[in-house]
Amino acid sequence: MSTTPSGMPSVSPPAAPGGAGHAISIRNLSKAFGDNIVLRDISMDIEPGQVVCVIGPSGSGKSTLLRCVNLLEQPTSGKIWVGNDEMTDPDVDIDKVRRRIGMVFQSFNLFPHLKVLDNLTIAQTKVLGRSLDEAKKVARHNLERVGMADREDAFPSQLSGGQQQRIAIARSLSMDPELMLFDEPTSALDPELVGEVLAVMKGLAAEGMTMMIVTHEMGFAREVADRVVFMDGGYVVEDGHPSQVIGDPKHARTKSFLHRVLNPMVIEPDDIHPDGLRDAISDLAP
């Protein structure tokens, strides 16, 4: 997969300039870790209120794309706007822009030394300058939203993974973000805990939150997303409505990826052929 995918189509860059009215604008974004090129000339716009699921095999660059949006990864080249702020401008006040971008991690990353309520208030008081009383009010409201109102005095280590992830979502929401980024929010969860987190995210989508979600949950993407982006080898291969990208994929890479994800137990005759198997394995772990 990391070999030159000459036939790989890149979705043509949108014509409109970055910034104007979009929630996120990405132009000609490339990212390399040393010799390893992870993102290749990505351009896309995400509109306010849109719920975008980014899918693709591991190593396809989808997490890196998400992390570039709030500059947890520094792009190698290209430009990114969040609202009217250019994240890639060296003079941008990155801390100020990040306040408006909620981020939810695969490994939750709650602050283990703080109780649940303090996890939600610390950034409000230290970053937004809210009073502790006001911050607690906002925090309790958001704990209510994620169904965790009764656990505000717990430490993160006393909670299940699903509960921790819901707290992490509430922590981001307490900053009143304009948009939320989710980096495989359910990948570290036991299967029976995935549902409660997806339910919270579905509720957020229904409230009109702008969301960019890297996920392997095809059912969620099909049901909740306005738009699904399939990435492979650092390219955006397909980008469209879930009924099209998941329901009726155009590109062979999308088809084979979805086929494997939706039917994990099925081994195609092609896969058993030494070359086919090698390709199948390299798709999974490039």
Binding site: N70, L72, D95, K96, R98, R99, I101, G102, M103, F105, S107, N109, L110, F111, P112, H113, L114, I122, A123, K126, V127, L128, F155, S157, Q158, A168, R171, S172, M175
Partner: protein, 274 residues
């Protein structure tokens, strides 16, 4: 096909039985040694020199009001100074700015490599010579604080650096994603977690300082500045009895043992908060 005769287990014992016999033999030997020493010891002369209650009583109450008080004071002052400096050095070691790193690395290598006694001596006599007219704030106590704290800071810097690096990278990412500045992230998120990790090694440092505080005697202290060791050795001379050393040893234990249990309590308290 050759028939191999299974070797019979020695004396028909199982492995567990053999282990029991071995252990029993060791205990029996230990018992004999203790018994031999107890019978051979001249208990009368031993207690006459090492456990003279009248000598021990004569050390009271100055043992508490001067010796233990001063030992604790020197220790805590040096610890506080060392911790404050060590924390800064740890941050410098992790800095992206080269000169900061070089300075901190040089400092740690230098002060970790020198005997505390030499450092204390240089601070007490070197600095006043180099800067005539300079007086430490807090005078003698200030001098001791710096003299012992400089060395302690070198050790603590290494410990704290390791603690900071042991905090998962995701913590920094989560805090920065919430809009916290690098400094705010360090002080509100990373360092509180790092300290929970380094409490046991820092206690070690504190206990070492309790004992290093005895080095203060080289500075030619006045009677009111005696710490435990100097206090004990002065009685050793005046009473011509080794009993004061036993008293001093017990006093040191009375300081360090509670410290150890305090740390265990702290660790237990933090167990769920990490």
């Amino acid at each position: 096909m050759t028939t191999t005769t299974a070797r019979p287990p020695r004396a028909g014992m199982t492995r567990r039985q053999r282990a029991k016999v071995t252990r029993g033999t060791q205990y029996a030997f230990l018992g004999l040694v203790v018994l031999f020493l107890a019978l051979k010891t001249d208990w009368k002369s031993f207690s006459d020199s090492f456990f003279r209650l009248d000598v021990a009583a004569s050390m009271w109450p100055r043992l508490l009001t001067e010796a233990i008080r001063n030992t604790l004071l020197y220790t805590l002052l040096a610890f506080a100074f060392g911790l404050a400096l060590g924390l800064r050095l740890a941050m410098m070691k992790l800095s992206s700015i080269g000169p900061y790193r070089w300075f901190a690395n040089g400092y740690v290598e230098l002060f970790r490599g020198l005997p505390s006694l030499v450092v204390l001596f240089m601070v007490a006599y070197g600095i006043p010579n180099a800067f005539p007219g300079f007086k430490f704030p807090g005078d003698f106590f200030g001098m001791v604080t710096v003299g012992l704290g400089l060395t302690a800071a070198a050790y603590m810097a290494e410990t704290i650096r390791a603690g900071i690096q042991a905090v998962p990278k995701g913590q920094m990412e989560a805090a920065r994603s919430l809009g916290m500045s690098p400094g705010r992230t360090m002080f509100s998120i990373i360092i509180p977690q790092a300290f929970r990790i380094v409490i046991p090694p820092l206690t070690n440092e504190l206990i070492l300082l309790v004992k290093d505080s005895s080095l203060v005697y080289v500075l030619g202290v006045s009677v009111a500045q005696y710490e435990l060791t100097k206090f004990g050795s002065s009685f050793l001379v005046s009473k011509a009895s080794p009993t004061p050393l036993i008293v001093v040893a017990l006093a040191y234990l009375a300081i360090t043992l509670p410290l150890s249990s305090l740390v265990r309590a702290l660790e237990k308290r933090f167990a769920k908060a990490r």
